[in-house]
Symmetry: C2
Subunit: 79 residues, 2 copies
């Protein structure tokens, strides 16, 4: 079975770090290939995140779903 | 290793159902013992959810973290 691609978008906020630690710890990495993207530094990935429906960080795009995990910062603050 | 307890709080909203499907599919259930609580029907669990910091559903309380997954409905709408 091929893995589902997941992208966790974050910035430097504490809320992002907490969510990242939960995602790293509890996501089933036998099913999911996880990439972590820091949108504060990798600004070239902002458009892709927006297209996936990401409105704020932290957010996890997994399969065809976009899940905002609590609220750290709006995407507009990272542009 | 004992499993981490996780509680997924939901109501009947479509956002809740989408988040529940992701949680069921991708949470590592070798590490996590997951309970799903429908706060629309199990109103006796509202206080416990509030104490864990749940402000809206869907939300996942996992270990000592409370993660709101997108926004379906405020807890106040379920009382």
């Amino acid at each position: 079975m091929s893995k589902t691609t997941a992208t966790f978008y974050r910035a430097g906020c504490p809320v992002c770090l907490d969510a990242e630690s939960a995602v790293n710890r509890y996501l089933d990495q036998t099913k999911v290939a996880l990439e972590v993207v820091h949108l504060g530094t990798a600004k070239q990935r902002l458009l892709e995140a927006e297209k996936a429906g990401v409105k704020s960080v932290p957010a996890l795009v997994i399969g065809n779903q976009t899940l905002h995990l609590n609220f750290g910062a709006p995407l507009s603050a990272l542009k």
